[in-house]
Amino acid sequence: MAEPVTALNGARFEGIATIEDAGPTGMITLRGDLASKEVKAAVKKAVGLDIPGQRAALGGKETAALWMSPDELLLMCPYDKVAETIATLDAALEGQHFLAVNVSDARSFLRISGGGAREVLAKLCPVDLSPDAFAPGMFRRTRMAQVPAAFWLDEGGTFHLVCFRSVGEYAFNLLKTAALSGGEVGVYG
């Protein structure tokens, strides 16, 4: 079988923040009634996580559950576990009105880490990224320059960002430019 390749193919840049391709990652769109006990049980069984609250992200070991909209989650798992995870969801939700589909190759997944990470994103997105307003565990879908993107912050201060694969290179170049050394604004101390 052919090896999966991401649009960014492992690209990495170090400036005031480190921008790196997170590599092939399993992503599953799950639509359904997020308040139902069936969906809750299915997500628990598939990725071992609860249903995240409104605009929240839950991360586990190699998995994540992200709140995309009132009826949609994005589930993450290792790339080679996607088929297995979808099968678990399908079995657990049989008879329910739901959709679980593999979108692993539809999106680019990046990591933004380092001291300037908040500032780099704040330059590109109309979001208040001050530590008081944007805390670990929050998930935000927004606009990054000219494209839609979504990101969350983990406990270690690293941002994880997803955007469409077709604009992956554009997104990387945007972040790279915003993270160039000498571009510090220092607005977040």
């Binding site: 409104q54 605009r55 009132p70 109309p126 927004t142 606009r143 839609p148």
Partner: protein
């Protein structure tokens, strides 16, 4: 610049995260509608100076449609509310009345 709050995901963001979707509360008459009704649906739009009701979509966010009541002169936003309604809720009407007593928009007041 408008600051809108999406009633579906609760985000308050500036207008570039959203997309405007035309006038709110239009009635599309069913099969067998008269030419006059279809003409009204397509072309007879409000162009007010003041209170206005619009449809918006949170296209860079949760992707859902909603309604917004705003003022075309001052650009203040009186409120946003669910897309699943045929008329502005009372709380929105009251918010407008508090600032623009005697307002009228189509059949709403």
């Amino acid at each position: 610049m408008l600051i809108l709050t999406c009633p579906c995901c609760g985000v308050t963001a500036e207008e570039t995260e959203f997309h405007q979707g035309g006038e709110a509360h239009l009635t599309r008459h069913g099969p067998g509608a008269s030419e006059e009704e279809f003409h009204t649906y397509l072309f007879a739009k409000e162009n007010p100076k003041g209170v206005h009701f619009e449809r918006w979509r949170h296209n860079n966010g949760c992707g859902k449609w909603f309604h917004a009541a705003r003022d075309t002169v001052t650009l203040e936003v009186y409120g946003t509310y669910s897309a699943q309604t045929l008329e502005p809720p009372q709380v929105i009407r009251d918010a407008i009345t508090a600032k623009r007593p005697g307002w009228r928009w189509r059949e709403f007041a």
